[in-house]
């Protein structure tokens, strides 16, 4: 497993992935590998805890767009929490926030995804 993935857990049918370090091409692919695997097994709610990710690049974030697209096919969704302000800003500029949600905390995220 890539060292970019710090931890993966499941909770109430929600997959929560915790990242660590630079979200680049490799980091994005490490996330998508997990998501695609879990989608095959019938999961379709994903949350990413990005507390450990202080810096991203647009290639890594583009891979999140691929995941969003894939999730539309299965009526799934993805969200993020614990984002550094600049990561949140980058997601905004790229428009991810039109198709997925940035939450402040894990609690907020789980609350919304459990509905």
């Amino acid at each position: 497993m890539s060292s970019f993935i710090k931890n993966t857990k499941e909770f109430n049918q929600i997959v929560i992935i915790e990242t660590d370090g630079y979200l680049n091409n490799e980091g994005g692919e490490a996330i998508s590998a997990i998501c695609y695997e879990k989608i095959k097994c019938g999961q379709h709610k994903f949350l990413i805890n990005m507390a450990g990710t202080k810096v991203v690049n647009s290639i890594g974030v583009s891979i999140l767009i691929e995941i969003i697209e894939k999730l539309q096919e299965v009526d799934g969704k993805i969200g993020y929490f614990n984002l550094a302000p600049i990561v949140s800003k980058t997601f905004n500029i790229m428009g991810l926030t039109k198709y997925s949600t940035v939450f402040a905390t894990e609690e907020d995220a789980l609350g919304a995804f459990n509905e």
Binding site: N57, S58, S62, I86, T90
Partner: protein
């Protein structure tokens, strides 16, 4: 007195753009920039470096110059790559990328322009120089 400058010469290797951002963070602290501005510069710089790396030969180098001015930070990212015509680059929209099997990438220039106060491109077949400027909001 001469204005202080920091210059980097980076090889084309994975993740070398992090040297550029780490450098900009030290400079930002020296200039007493806000955390927001520091982050904006970091991401813009990463994107400019990735472009420079991606369109260069592996034996080339990428040069990054930081010019510390009284009220701004000017950063030049210089590559010896194939060059490009900025006017031909489409502005990306996520609506056009999702559900259409389109290439998801193409955000670098857009991010640079949104995150910096001014950006200039000089490009020809010998390479590209991106000059980005951040006007300083001092902390407090």
């Amino acid at each position: 007195m001469k204005k202080p400058s920091v210059e980097l010469k980076l090889p084309i290797l994975p993740n070398m753009e992090l040297i550029a951002t780490q450098t900009s963070e030290v400079i930002a602290r020296h200039m007493n920039l806000t955390e927001d501005q520091t982050g904006e510069i970091s991401i813009a710089l990463i994107e400019a470096c990735i472009n420079a790396f991606e369109h260069s030969q592996t034996d080339n180098n990428v040069f990054i110059n930081f010019l510390i001015e009284e009220d701004s930070l000017i950063i030049k990212v210089i590559d010896q790559g194939i060059g490009f015509d900025k006017t031909k680059v489409e502005i990306p929209k996520i609506e056009n990328k999702i559900g259409k099997g389109e290439r998801k990438r193409g955000w670098g220039l857009q991010l640079i322009q949104e995150l910096m106060d001014s950006v200039e491109f000089e490009s020809n077949s010998d390479g590209t120089t991106v000059t980005m400027k951040k006007i300083i909001n001092k902390k407090h």
